[in-house]
């Protein structure tokens, strides 16, 4: 059976609401290595979830620069 990135990501709790067809196509093309990394990061972040002011002061973005 072939690897299904969308299914694996959805099973780990990733949400694709609002993703357009091109974005979904790109996400579907994720490799197993990428999905494994994404899911392990998500699992760690979810277990350490604290109170984060989502949506507050949205224009204040950007902290890392190159």
């Amino acid at each position: 059976m072939s690897f299904d990135a969308l299914k694996e990501l959805a099973a780990a709790g990733h949400n694709f609401k609002g993703a357009n067809p091109q974005q979904l196509e790109a996400i579907s093309s994720l490799s197993q290595e990428e999905v494994t990394l994404l899911n392990s990061i998500k699992q760690r972040l979810d277990s350490a979830e604290d109170v984060v002011p989502h949506g507050v002061d949205a224009p204040l973005s950007g902290a890392f620069v190159w």
Binding site: L37, I41, F64
Partner: protein, 229 residues
Amino acid sequence: MTRHSQALRAKTGLLLPQLMATTRRLWNSPRLNELYPEYLCMLHSSIRSTVPLMERAVARCRELADDDPVAQALVPYFTRHIREEQGHDEWLRQDLAAIGCDPDEPLRRLPTASVANLVGAQYYWIQHYHPACLLGHIAVLEGNPPSTELVPELMRRTGFPRTGFRTLERHAALDIKHRDELMRTLDEAPLTPELVTAIGLSALHSIDAANNALATVLDAHPAMTTANA
């Protein structure tokens, strides 16, 4: 068919909300005056690796170029970008001096493990896999520039002068131009499926590591005093 740049944006979009949330925690912190110098020190420890990383990447590209069309295609990009990125660590030292902090402080400090994780992974991938991996890292750090509203708002919140925010202010403009150039490079390079995956992995790792590095700033117990602290 989805272009490489679009695919990379879709992949990183899965993790970027977390980095943006940590960023907002920093800029909305009631301790912002104390944390801003700590942020500048952390950023210095990352930015001072920008040019050396690209120098290592271009050297590796030249070693591989005879048999590797991707490495060959990336030499002009890295060469040009090295020139464009010179001296940004010095801007950070000037920012520190402008808010009354010792500009040599970042050079004295032991860089954190989180920044070593962010930057060190790139040295590994460049040396032991392929220098194209660095494109994923750059796409993350250069692909999410400071908003134009950020500096005026931080000035208002901290009372620090505009000269204390030169790094953020200049990158708000510079990184947009550089991001577009990187996206063109990604789309034009003859990337193999394996390298597309490697660049994606590098980008996802960089978001996570950058998030952790920023979180260490939020946890910092500031040792520096500023002009108006």
